[in-house]
Assembly symmetry: C2
Homo-oligomer: 341 residues x 2
Amino acid sequence: MSKLTIALDIMGGDHGPPVILSAAIKAIQHHPDVNFTLCGDESIINPAIQVLSDAERRRVVVSHCDQVVDMGEAPTSALRHKKRSSMRKAIELVQAKEAHACVSAGNTGALLTLSFYLLKTLSGIDRPALVSMMPTASHHKVLLLDLGANVNCTPDILFQYGVMGSVLAQQVAGIASPRVALLNVGEEDIKGNAQVKSADQLFKDAPGINYIGYVEGDDIFTDHADVVVTDGFTGNVALKSSEGLAKLVVSEVKRHSQRNIYTRLMAKIAFPLLKSIYNSVNPDQYNGASLIGLRGIVIKSHGNASKDAFYYAIVQAMQEARMQVPDKIKTKIETVLLEQL
Amino acid sequence: MSKLTIALDIMGGDHGPPVILSAAIKAIQHHPDVNFTLCGDESIINPAIQVLSDAERRRVVVSHCDQVVDMGEAPTSALRHKKRSSMRKAIELVQAKEAHACVSAGNTGALLTLSFYLLKTLSGIDRPALVSMMPTASHHKVLLLDLGANVNCTPDILFQYGVMGSVLAQQVAGIASPRVALLNVGEEDIKGNAQVKSADQLFKDAPGINYIGYVEGDDIFTDHADVVVTDGFTGNVALKSSEGLAKLVVSEVKRHSQRNIYTRLMAKIAFPLLKSIYNSVNPDQYNGASLIGLRGIVIKSHGNASKDAFYYAIVQAMQEARMQVPDKIKTKIETVLLEQL
């Protein structure tokens, strides 16, 4: 496995294989230095990859899987009864070191459970986290974690999230000394619940982390921090509620534009402007969520991801594989834990 | 106190008395049937209310207070050392039934603590909640609570929030049978933490509540529910992160518009359209957060509220006072608790 190899779960996601396959074909065509293993129903995959040239086709392996993890399926059911699923196969390829990373748009709970079970966490890490880049003003990107891997987080887990987020910001966003913050309901020391207060102390005692203290929800989208740490319940709600507001803005643009002939004309004239604004806050651009803390790279794409969104998730998988993110996290967590002795 | 009387804390808020006073003057001028008590430094208030006519002036009482609760002050310090503050005075007027409601843009923690201490909760209610209306598509409004009154919520408290939210949606938003939902990280039964799961059961067992189950963060801005219930930590983050994204959209509109002469022209032509879209998702329009569950009406305006935002908060105070919201909550919680016996 000298050449970079990415395993794709073709069957996951709300829109099904066609969208995933067109993203996969784009990735195959745009990245001639990468091999791909497409996991899923070969009767769906084989006809779709006919568009590839012979040279492109040679970089593709189809791994037939006759099971699919359903979007609403309980993670325990996926673990027990879907041993031949495309999702599991993609993770197993990473586990067997036959792929450097895998990408799925399938059932998040199942992906977390299968990844945790098959890949195991790095030593020093209790729980994996789901992390994603959020858009901000000034094109600066902020990493938010956890987005829903663990709804209950101890202070230790929050601290480990900070370490992992810090490594990812260095390796993927290229920030030399990432500013790590804890998400809270106020910036003053007295604010917050018991977990947040204890985690705050752990960060203050860790010299290897550039900890800047508390930030509030609106700071996720500003230039205050590079890494924002929170538990999976709060992080998931923060992500989805901001996505909800973004969708509201888009629907209001449509609704207000269609009011009369003047508003339609205005919208038509301003279309390039509206489009570029939309692109800069568009969730699809920061679609891939990394599942970090594991002994392997797993990227979760949004369930209702478009072709472009799934393509970005694949690119992210390549980048993390090239930067060897799990190894870097392992080294960092060992250093930080050693410093604390 | 037959005539509706509203007490205003003139000294609170990030922008200080000038903004609050101009909102107060607008309210005095637009609501000839309402009396106002302005609490704060008379040397600031008296010159500002010179603009009022004699008739308007007769509906205004200035209650001089020589202390101010600072925005960053600890709630316990405000409670102990600011007994002559404008914030406390406004709440004391409600406590003494000399005002039907009070409004403050000051320190949220101090307002919560002082209100809780002075007004006490209604019987059957363990903790007050901060609740606000969120914008949605189709002009439908959703009540979100708790926005930060209690960072730790037991299942019982979450249930009480649902009852209170339901009453507020009936009385203020005019919805006959408000759909109450619990905020969670997924809609399936298996999702969520222990508190949410227990609260879910409490709601299912309560026949007097139109409970519709779980919703996710993005559903706050859709037409799924009329009342979305969550703990104060998560609710605060949901509110602020969506506000953060709204601010990001506004800053992106500015940034993209100023790129070149064409984009400036486009923005100029589309200005009425952009303005109407902005107004429909503008936080100022749903600015007033009600502190509910107390034996009196307290409205919290955003700290950095504009004149219009603080004015909306005053209007909301009048509306809740007219609908006698605390009495209605008291009746509803008694009925629901009785049904459960």
